[in-house]
Structure formats: C-alpha cells, structure tokens
C-alpha cells in the first residue's frame, strides 16, 4: 500500500515536470497553469465539502480578496511582491476566520445560504466601491513578480511556481486527511452528535477546517492575480464560486485527485467552448444539472467503485 502511494506521488510529480517539456506553446502552457491554480482552489474548497461535509457557495471570497489585496498593494500602495503576498495571505485567511464565525452559526443549507450571501456582499463591494477596487474595470498589475531573485514573469517559471504550490498543497492536505484531526473532521461530517458525545468540540473542528480552506484558497487567489496580472469583480462572483463547487462535485468530493481532475476538465471545457461560442454560462448551468442528475458522487469515486467492483 505504502509503495503504491509513493508511486502515485512520483507519477504526479513526473507528470508536472513533463508538461512544460511536452507543451512548448506558451498559450497552452498558460491554460494548464490556470487549471492548476483552480485545482488548488478546488482542493481548498474540498476541505469543506468533502472532509467537513459543508457545502459553501461563497468560496470565491478566498480567491478574490487576496487577489485584490496583491493587486492593490503592489500598484496603489507600491509595496514589493513579498510584502504584498504575505499581507494578502493574512488578509484572506483572516477573512475566513471572521466569516467562519458567522457561517458556522448554521449548518447544512443555512451554511450554504450564509456563505453565498457573504460572497455576494464581497462581490458587491468589489463592484461598487470604485475608489478602492476600480469597480468593473478592476486592477491591472504591471507584471508577474520577481521573488527572492527568481524571475517568474515568463510562462515556464510561473508554471513551475504554480506546480510547486500545487504539490505542496496536495501533500499538506493529504497529511491533513491522514492525521487524527482529519479523522475527527470526517467524524463531524458523518456523525456530529456522536462526536459531541465523545467529547470533541465539533464547532472548533469545523472552524479549523473553514480557516484551512480559506488559507489554501488564498494561495490560489495570490497565484490567480499573478496569472492574469489582472483582477476584476469576476474573481468574487457567484459563477466563480459555483465553478469551484462544480469542480469538486464533478471530480469527486472527499478525494485528493477529484478536485484536481474536476478543475482540469472544467477549465478545458471552458477554454474550448469560449473559443467557439459565447455561451459559457448556459453550458456551466447545463453541466451542473447533468453532473447532479447523472453522477452525483463524482468521477473519482465512480471509477473507484467500478474498478473495485471488477476486482471483487
């Protein structure tokens, strides 16, 4: 078992290293980079949906707030990239610490509704508070950062940064899943009342998951800002939250590979469709309905059940 797990990790890293060698076009490499950033976002949301069993429809907050913070601090305030990134990460995580207190007053669909409302409030601020955010025009960065002497302005170095971040995220979330805390979190998802009777503080376990999710979402947010060198209210919009949710549900909530796979599939569909027709929202809506009706458990658990069934 352990051998197979390490083989899996080796394959993932090998694939990530091979991608820039195989894909020489910086356009296609850019799409892959974008998919991997959204994979980090989907992984962060998966902590809530898959492990804690709480569906959030406001996860774009943790993409958008750090992205805006980086853009604003580096352009309006004239800060260096390192300081901007650190403050943006702290701000994104602190927002999750605050919103977590509010959203965890409820559970189930109440939780979903509060996260959605909080997300829409943030979108409204980004859209309407023109003096701070530039409104619909957003904020444009000059270029990608030079960090600790490394120049990430090119497509390949930036891909390397994103791929490294993804591997670190995957590793940390894998360790979290295997840890006693991960077991507690799954316990609060499946049997909250029993967990309470066993003496666990269910609220605190969920709250920690909310902040963890906000932290990794912020990582995706910082990368997202540098990827486009631009941020607009789009990053905070409900469709953005919904896309992240769809990635998790499509790939399979509660697995590590699922959100990554979901992010890649959705990004590919979006890129391909956008180049032909301008009807992405209809397709996004249709994909939602089809996924929920036909494969509610997602691809990875579905394939796993299929393979397991054949072996047995």
């Amino acid at each position: 078992m352990t051998g197979r797990v390490w083989l899996g990790w080796a394959l993932v890293i090998l694939a990530l290293v091979a991608i820039p060698v195989v894909i020489s076009s910086s356009f296609y490499l850019g799409i892959v980079t974008h998919a991997l950033i959204l994979a980090i976002l989907a992984l962060s949301l998966n902590v809530l949906i898959g492990h804690a069993g709480m569906t959030s429809l406001g996860h774009a907050v943790y993409l958008g707030i750090p992205a805006y913070a980086v853009a604003w601090l580096s352009t309006q305030a004239g800060w260096g990239p390192i300081q901007s990134i650190i403050v943006a990460m702290v701000l994104g995580t602190a927002t999750s610490a605050f919103f977590g207190i509010l959203a965890l007053r409820a559970s189930g669909l109440g939780f979903l509704m509060i996260t959605l409302a909080l997300g829409q409030v943030m979108w409204g601020i980004a859209y309407r508070w023109v003096d701070l955010t530039g409104g619909d025009n957003g904020i444009r960065l000059d270029h990608r950062p030079v960090l600790l002497g490394f120049d990430f302005t090119g497509a390949v170095p930036f891909y390397g940064l994103v791929a490294t971040a993804l591997v670190v995220a995957l590793f940390c979330l894998w360790q979290l899943d295997r840890s006693p805390y991960g077991a507690c979190l799954r316990g609060t998802r499946d049997q909250p009342r029993r967990m309470r009777m066993l003496g666990h503080d269910v609220w605190r376990i969920r709250y920690l998951a909310f902040i963890t999710s906000g932290f990794w979402g912020s990582v995706a947010g910082v990368l997202y800002c540098y990827d486009y060198t631009y941020v607009s209210p789009q990053a905070l919009s409900l469709p953005q939250s919904a896309e992240a949710l769809l990635m998790v549900v499509l790939g399979g909530a509660g697995t590590l590979a699922g959100p990554v796979l979901g992010a890649i599939i959705i990004t590919v569909i979006k890129t391909v469709v956008s180049s032909y027709v301008d009807r992405w929202y209809s397709l996004l809506g249709l994909t939602f309905i089809v996924v929920v009706m036909l494969m509610p458990r997602g691809i990875v658990p579905g394939v796993r059940a299929w393979v397991g069934g054949r072996r047995a």
Binding site: G124, G285, V292
Partner: protein
C-alpha cells in the same frame, strides 16, 4: 426634509418589491427545505417578459400578471421536471436551481441583449402625488400598495384557506403532514408556482424602478437571501418585516453612502446571526 420623506417612501417601495421577491423564496425554502437559487433569475425573467409585453402595448397590470403566470409555470416545470427527481438529495437540488439560474440568465442575455431595458410606468401613475405639500412619486406609492395588497392576499391564502393550512402543515412538519394524508408533492408544485409567479410579477412591478438588465438576478438574489436570513425561513411575517428593514437600509445606504450600500446590508445579517440564528420570526424546521 423633502429628501428624507422621498427617500423614506423609496425605501418603502423597495421593501414592497423585496417582499414580492422574498415571500416566494421563503415559502419555497420553508416547504421544500431548499433555497431556490434561481429566484433572482426568475425575477429578472419576469422583468424582461414585462418589457416585451409592454412593447406590444399590453396594459401594465395585465403584463405583470401574464409575466407572473408565465414565470410561475416555468417554476412548476423546474420543480416537477428536475427537483422532484432529486428528492432527498438537497445539495443536488440546490445545485440544480443554481444551474437553472445560470441558464435563464444566459438565455435572457441572448434574447434581450446587454443593454438595460427600462419599463415605462403606467401613464396614470407617472405624475407626482402631492400630500401635505410634499411631492411623492406616484408609481412608488402604487408599488407599496400592490405589495401590501399582495401580503394581505398571501396571508389570507395561508391562514384562511384549506390549501394554506396544508402548506403551513407542510412547513411545520413535512412527515407528519404526509402521514395525515396531505399530498405534499402536489403542494410542492403549488408553492413553486406561487413563489415563482410572485418573483416574475415582482420583476415587472419593479421594472419601472430598477429596469431590466443583465445582472439584475445577481443583484436581487442576495437581497432575497438577506431578507430570509433576517426574517426567518418559511415565515411570511418574517419576510415582510425583513423586506422593509432591508429595503430601508439598501435605499438609504445607496443614497447616503453609495460605495458602502452592500456593506450596510451585511450588518443586520451579522447581528441576527449572532443573536438569533433562526432569524427574527424563524423556528427550527423539522
């Protein structure tokens, strides 16, 4: 002085509109136990249908009723065609309503284009009304009146009719209602029709104030959410009180601090969540 009086009336008119939007949202949530995330899109669809009907020289009130019925029927299709197949999978149902919201919004954009379409108010209501020397916009008074009449009719329906008693039974305890012989699935369709029709009707009524534009759905949905979080799920008085509170905050916020109107919306929600998470009039649903 004129500013405060006019803004107060505008707040009341906005509150009335929000009631038309959120009463249905709250009832659907109360009975089906799911927030219908397509509600903002249904409101917007109503506004666009109204704009088209008014363009065909249909009488304003008739256009509002027709748009309401049309959107209501779409709600029935959504409930019976999609949501019923996902009975028991509440998360799936919510995601489907969200998917439908995106499709409706995109089809509206495709059909009616990206430019805002203002809806003309009925001619008789355009001149200002003078009360005690102050000029009031006539149409906003009418909106408030329509919303209050709507609230009264809804209250009569829920409290004084057999259907209303069944809906209340379903909201209070779905299993028990089913076991005493109420066909809850039929109620689902009825309530979905009613809720969607109210949203579509509200879209036309709100048209002369808000006009129909892409993004109206995304503007209205959070307002409905905040009203229902504030007032309590499934409660008609909660929706009414919540609508007028949010209408006032949104309207005065937009007039006095345009940049922060959205932040102000967030405050009553935070206070209610901290003090009474079930909302002002809410109870724990079984």
């Amino acid at each position: 002085m004129q500013f405060w009086i006019v803004q107060s009336l505008n707040s009341l008119a906005m509150g009335g509109l929000l009631f038309l939007l959120s009463a249905g949202f709250s009832l659907i949530f109360g009975l089906l136990r799911i927030p219908n995330l397509a509600h903002g899109a249904l409101f917007m669809l109503g506004a666009y249908l109204g704009a088209t009907l008014l363009g065909l020289q249909v009488n304003f009130w008739l256009a509002a009723l027709l748009a309401g019925v049309g959107v209501g029927l779409l709600g029935v299709v959504l409930e019976a065609g999609l949501l019923r197949r996902l009975a028991g999978n509440e998360q799936g149902q919510v995601l489907v309503t969200l998917g439908v919201a995106f499709i409706i919004a995109d089809l509206c954009l495709m059909t009616w284009g990206g430019d805002p379409m203002p809806l003309p108010a009925p001619r008789a209501l355009r001149p200002p009304v003078f009360i005690a020397g102050f000029a009031f916009p006539g149409y906003r008074l009418a909106v408030l009146g329509v919303a209050l009449v709507g609230a009264l009719l809804l209250w009569l329906l829920l409290e004084r009719t057999r259907l209303g008693a069944m809906i209340r039974a379903g909201v209070d305890d779905r299993l028990m209602a089913r076991s005493v012989g109420i066909r809850v699935s039929l109620l689902f369709s009825a309530v979905f029709f009613l809720g969607a029709a109210l949203a579509g009707f509200g879209g036309v009524i709100g048209g002369p104030i808000l006009s129909a534009y892409p993004g109206l759905d995304a503007d209205m949905l959070p307002l409905a959410l905040v009203v229902v979080i504030l007032g309590g799920v499934g409660s008609l008085p909660g929706a009414l009180v919540g609508s007028f509170i949010i209408g006032a905050i949104y309207n005065f916020g937009s007039a006095l601090f345009p940049d922060f109107a959205y932040v102000l919306l967030f405050l009553p929600m935070v206070i209610v969540l901290v003090v009474k998470p079930t909302g002002l009039f809410g109870r724990v649903l079984r």
